[in-house]
Amino acid sequence: MDKAQISDILKQLTSVDGLSGSEARVAELVRSLAGSTVTEFRTDALGNLIGLRRGAPEAGSESASGRIMLAAHMDEIGLAVTKIDRGFLHLAKVGGVDPRSVVGQEVTVYPSGPGSAAYPDGLPGYVGSRPPHLLSADERQKVVGLADLRVDLGLPPAFFENGLIRVGDRIALRGPVTELLGGRLASKALDNRVSVAVMIGALGYLDAMRHTWDVFAVATVQEEYGLRGAKAAAFGVAPDLGIALDVTFADTPGVSDNETFAMDKGPTIGLGPNLHPGVVRRLKAAAEALEIPYQIEPLPGNSGTDAWAIQVTQAGIPTGLISVPVRYMHSCVETVALADVDRAARLLAGFISRLDATSLADIATELP
């Protein structure tokens, strides 16, 4: 595994569509990208993809020294059809879409009605807006809300007569990979395919390292819909430790830098009530030992990630959070520094390989 491979994995992951609730294609791709680094995969009741990579037991022991669960959500935000009106589609959000960045966007509509088998890769559509020439100065200043937006497939009304497109059908935003200067990449769905790439990358690095803990690498579903998948996955796996992988806000002109992090300066390690101080300490130690730059991300409350769900599962799970800074989150032009993706993968692999039979007790010393 190396940085070039991880970048390639990321590009493949972002070119697949997988909205909350319809992650199957992403899951399929994750299985194939993880390849032999995972011993066995299973899919749970909600569609979480759970991959088990066994650790090598320590000398004198028959079983792994512990179980760690990694969570990287594989769903992305998008839109859904609420009504078909003479060929134009009314829209609802699937996750936190900002209507302002949807206007003028290309989309892919996935029909599910009769005849839809002919369109496995969906139909191209466009979110149009009324010509500015026809609007008053006032109207041009106003944000168009989602209720007033329509997807136009450019097809005649007769095309829809058999019910090809149905209420609830998924509409993915198009945001193809664009390589920018400085090792940066723009694409839709870097939230959270970056983390899925980090997870697969870490598994690849672990393949060449020794680790004594069993690793449950979970590509979770429906995070954008309320951390739904992670709740169920953490209950089912019942790990000793959990690490959530997500993206965070990168420095952006116009946004106060109290809440953002530098790009290309490494991943962030979350710090706050949601994260176990012992896990934080060990993440920092791994980063320092491996000379991986990192930033501390203060999170005074809800981290807004799968970590929030994992921590309070059953009798409680010590949890950590590694995030990669991304600009323009929840838009089709999310931007990341590829070096950060690799750094996060190496940090995660390094953290896991340093876990042994004494680690849980060590972590617990932070909460005497």
């Binding site: 009741a45 059809v81 209420v167 609830g168 309320g226 996955a233």
Partner: protein, 334 residues
Amino acid sequence: MEQLAKRLAEAFGVSGFEEEIRSVLLEEVKDLVDEVRVDSLGNLIAVRKGSGGGKRVMLAAHMDQIGLMVTYVDEKGFMRFANVGYIYALASWGGQVRFADGTLGTVGLDGRVKAGRTLPELRDYYIDTGATSKAEVTQKVGAVAAFWPGFASQGNTWFSPNLDDRAGCVVLVQLLRDLKDVKIDHDLYVVFTTQEEIGPRGAQTAGYAIEPDLAIAIDVTLTGDIPYASPAMEVGLGKGVAIKVQDSGMIGHAGLNAKLIGAAESAGIPYQLEVLQGGTTDAYAIQVTRAGVPATALSIPSRHVHTPSQIVDQRDVAATVRLLDVFLRGPIDL
């Protein structure tokens, strides 16, 4: 079914205080199932054992409705209240309410809100039982009231303040009646849940206890067929049972939905697909219990939800019963 609806609609049952509706439902179902129990949240769980080889199916309809709880009784006997569940400030003025003991009142608006100048908030309202002093009022802090009157019908239309979700309760009782003496493979856990309107809460603990293989909530949904409907919604009154693709809390299990759609189509049951923006159901809670449960909801289209006079079309209620009936008679492979 109409008599059943009337009986259920007229039973008192605000979130957290469902004793009366629970005992009415207990009477309705006790001879139609093998076992009934009440858990610590007050859920009524009725178990109908299957003939074997089937799935463990949880069906949930909430027996609670929104209401008002007295927070303060002033010297003149006017009662300030807190909402129990989501109450529209806009839909409260002049609403008639009834307390558990039968006392009636009208929701009044105090003089601080100059009509037309600002929208009132719940704090601007009070309940007026017609008393002129505190001594005449029997209600104390903590007393609970719900919108009243209960049930009326007209043609295919049912009116009641609590069709959310007494209509769903009607479906489950009617289903059990229709299935009497019918052999089905599946074990049915028919749960009349509590505190959906303030949670969902009852569904969460019931889901944990039952550990179903799949779950279907029966609740109401909004319609997009009113003037200037916003946001747009295809669901309409009288067009059949709605199958939940998504609402603001959850996404219906795609595989389970596909099976329900298949059953509706093969039996010729009118159905519609639902995307609800603004609201969720018991399925939201059940779906993430333990290690996850394939879950969805069947919805009865309703207009004027959470106002003192909601509407459903009884043909949609009947379609919901039929769909469940057809679905449960066959094998369920997800």
